[in-house]
């Protein structure tokens, strides 16, 4: 019933009559109401299943950053900030070298050890709300999350921006991943497996970072996104073996993108657009696989991603075009130079990453062009090396430095590109309570 209340609220956001801004506010208000209903309805029922709650419900205390009322309620407010400094830009033309990429406040909580929730917003942003969801624990294997949260696809994308190994996610992940969306997701785990499967609204009112801020008009079509991700960890926390952790995963999403200039774009590290929107129309399919291997002080991880966009009736003559294909991959190596794994205490990590983002099309035989209706889209790829160090001073403060070299490669020589790569250096101070 609680889930139904939330999904009903999401469904009712589907067709905004008064513009996008109004739609966003209305959806958030309805979502907040739905979450409240979820908690009110779920809490008494779940409380009956919780023996501890009856014993501890009278104990109210402030404990390690959390407000607790026994096991009945936990409230954990947080505030997290990142400030970046551009140490070197490719052409030396940037005047303002300081930035605040994230300034967030939020509230995590739990009711009767059964319902978790999170609300988080950016302090200054056009679309400030980030995660707003409730998560009902039916069992370890079955949990239901409803609200606005990240669509499960790339593991790097669903990693918090405050826990990244580098200042920026790989370009491919940034460009190709769906971001937060309104939806309902079933998820759970066992000792070796975990899964997530959900349906999302993916349409009016919310901009999609992967589409570079384009708001997708529905044109009366029913839009939506289904997503699923599974992971298998044959080895986990083995302190004695050669392999401490080993994990593999796969993910898929499927959505409908309306007709328009909504193809995926590419940005350089300096945030200039190097690959423009292409006309798309039809299904967008994302596929991803990921792997992670940790041994001693070393961790290797990576992902392979692909997005296929249909382009129905998008040729100059009105016929179908071959699908637009975007591929991405990265491989990260991390060496813990100081400190232990699994502890949020002082540590130093040295890391390197190679990532690649490439654009092309299904047709690879005709003459290639860069135009947004080209059947053979002239291929273009971005190759980026990132070298970095992360110093976790304590659980609240972190300092990072990255040197990044990105280069564009046009294998067919259709574009006039600079032949050499560009170096950028960034520093970051992060603190959070």
């Amino acid at each position: 019933m609680a889930i139904l209340a939330t999904t009903s609220a999401i469904g009712s956001c589907a067709s905004p009559p008064h513009g996008e801004g109004f739609a966003v506010r209305r959806c958030i208000l309805r979502l907040a109401n739905a979450l409240l209903v979820t908690m009110l309805v779920a809490a008494p029922a779940l409380a009956q299943n919780s023996t501890n709650s009856a014993q501890d419900s009278g104990t109210i205390r402030w404990d390690d950053g959390s407000f607790r009322a026994g096991d009945a309620l936990r409230l954990e407010p947080h505030a997290r900030f990142q400030t970046d400094m551009l140490l070197r830009d490719p052409d030396g033309s940037v005047d303002d070298r300081f930035d605040w990429p994230r300034r967030r406040i939020g509230l995590d909580g739990e009711l009767f050890s059964r319902v978790e929730f999170q609300i988080e917003r950016e302090l200054e942003d056009d679309t400030p709300w980030r995660d707003i969801y409730g998560d009902v624990k039916i069992s370890r294997a079955i949990r239901v999350r409803a609200g606005r949260f990240k669509v499960p696809f790339s593991t790097e994308q669903t990693t918090s921006g405050f826990d990244l190994d580098f200042l920026e996610r790989p370009s491919a992940v940034e460009a190709m991943s769906p971001s937060r969306d309104l939806g309902v997701m079933v998820h759970g785990r066992s000792d070796r497996f975990k899964y997530e499967a959900g349906v999302f609204r993916h349409s009016d009112g919310y901009t999609l970072p992967s589409d570079d801020g384009v708001t997708l008009p529905s044109n009366g079509r029913r839009l939506g996104l289904v997503a699923g991700r599974v992971a298998f960890a044959p080895i986990r926390d083995d302190k004695d073996g050669f392999t401490r952790d080993l994990e593999f995963g796969a993910a898929v999403t499927r959505s409908t993108v309306p007709e328009g200039l909504h193809g995926i774009v590419g940005h350089t590290i300096a945030d200039t657009r190097f690959f423009e929107h292409m006309y798309v129309n039809g299904a967008r399919t994302r596929l991803g696989v990921n792997g992670k291997w940790a041994a001693g002080q070393v961790t290797l991880k990576g992902e392979l991603l692909q997005v296929t966009d249909e382009r129905q009736a998008q040729a100059i003559s009105g016929e179908d075009l071959s699908s637009l294909i975007t591929r991405g991959a990265y491989l990260t190596g991390i060496w813990r130079a100081y400190g232990k794994h699994g502890h949020k205490k002082a540590s130093v990590d040295i890391a390197a990453r190679f990532d690649r983002l490439s654009f092309g099309s299904g047709n690879q035989t005709d003459e290639p062009f860069t135009n947004p209706r080209a059947d053979h889209v002239a291929p273009l790829s971005q190759r980026t090396w990132t070298f970095g160090a992360t110093w976790n001073i304590n659980r609240w403060v972190r300092v990072q430095g990255n040197a990044i070299r990105d280069q564009l490669v046009d294998p067919l020589g259709v574009r006039d590109l600079a032949p050499t790569g560009q170096w950028t250096a960034l520093g970051r101070l992060q603190f959070g309570l």
Partner: protein
């Protein structure tokens, strides 16, 4: 695919830009665009956004051409002026050796022939000027109106007309009345006036210091050294020939225009560093048979000081005489006006998007006929008086 490319290439080789700009023929160009793109281009006609299209001329089809709305005062959402950029979506693409083409919508001239006649005369005089021809334009199979297909002034044009296109080419933009005065030391003042159309990666100093020095010299050089000092930066011989031809043509929106300098490019030779002016957009030529020969000359510092120099003054009036004689030879001007008017009349009348009535078209042609009859006597008298 490779075979079809060879066939197209062979066909393209069989025809040249001379065929495309052959004024004896009323050309026909077909543009195929996604219908939504054509609607968007017309709705956002003030934007310079490109849209992909296939272009067909004389059986030759060029795919994936970049098309954008163009023009300044002539911009229109009903009858858009167009740039066809063959290299926009692939740096390797071209058409008959051209990187781009201009489709002039002819909306500022009811006669629709002023520019073509003017450019034709300039070329007769040996002045590097764009080749032009009239063309019927079809978009997605529908007649979109009568246009002029114009050879753009770019490095390809400069290489064809001057033998070397490796220098720096600038397009002059009218931003406010400018009469060749010295604007000061700040190079950033010159940058928006003279937009670099080649060598864009060069530094501001490399591009604009010679332009600043040109106008400093025009204004500050002593009278006795004016000719040599300015000639170091600007080819005065070719400049005065252009100014003289524009004066004969009663071009009131040209280099000596009513509101300051306008409608020209500046090309700086890579070897000598000397610049020359190249004409552009003469759709206000032949404004009136009694348009004064030296209109705008006193306001423009370059022209005023050139006329103060006896040698340059003599050259200028000799060039006016030359232009007049060339236009009069065999009654060329009157015959050219009549021939072009006859060639386009049917298509102009059928043009559904022109901003003039058919009666206004006929009246404008009649005005030009009068110009061709009366201009020679008026100019001859002015030369006699002013020389």
């Amino acid at each position: 695919m490779a075979l079809s490319s060879l066939v197209v290439a062979a066909s393209a080789n069989a025809q040249t830009t001379d065929d495309l700009f052959n004024g004896a023929v009323l050309q026909s160009i077909q543009v195929t665009m996604h219908s939504r793109d054509w609607e968007t281009l017309r709705a956002n006609f003030t934007s310079n956004d490109f849209y992909p299209a296939d272009v067909t001329w004389n059986g030759l089809r060029v795919r994936n051409v970049g098309v954008r709305s163009r023009g300044l005062g002539s911009r229109s959402g009903i009858k858009p002026g167009l740039e066809l950029n063959f290299a926009h979506y692939s740096s390797r693409s071209e058409f008959l050796g051209l990187k781009s083409l201009v489709l002039d919508n002819l909306t500022t001239d009811p006669s629709m022939i002023r520019e073509r006649v003017a450019m034709e005369l300039l070329r007769r005089l040996g002045i590097p000027a764009s080749r032009e021809a009239h063309t019927q334009l079809y978009v997605n199979g529908q007649y979109a109106g009568l246009y002029a297909v114009v050879e753009p002034v770019d490095s390809t044009f400069v290489a064809r007309t001057l033998g070397d296109g490796s220098g720096a080419l600038f397009e002059y933009h009218w931003l406010q009345p400018f009469f060749a005065t010295y604007l000061g030391d700040n190079l950033d003042i010159y940058r928006p006036l003279f937009e670099a159309r080649s060598q864009q990666t060069k530094s501001t100093f490399d591009l604009y210091d010679p332009i600043r020095e040109l106008f400093r010299t025009i204004n500050d050089a002593p009278a006795d050294t004016f000719r040599d000092a300015v000639n170091k930066y600007l080819d005065l011989e070719s400049t005065l020939r252009l100014l003289a031809a524009e004066s004969f043509l009663a071009e009131w929106d040209g280099v000596l225009g009513y509101a300051g300098m306008n409608n020209f490019y500046l090309y700086r030779d890579a070897a000598t560093g000397q610049s020359r002016m190249l004409p552009w957009d003469a759709d206000h030529a032949m404004i009136g048979a009694e348009y004064p020969l030296l209109s705008g000359a006193n306001e423009n510092v370059l022209m005023r000081r050139s006329l103060e120099d006896p040698v340059l003054r003599q050259r200028y009036f000799s060039s006016v005489s030359e232009a007049m004689q060339s236009a009069a030879a065999g009654d060329w001007l009157a015959r050219e006006i009549a021939a072009e008017a006859q060639q386009i009349r049917e298509s102009a009348w059928a043009d559904p998007t022109k901003p003039y009535s058919n009666e206004e078209f006929d009246a404008a042609i009649a005005e030009l006929t009068v110009f061709a009859q009366k201009r020679f006597a008026f100019v001859a008298k002015q030369i006699e008086t002013l020389r």
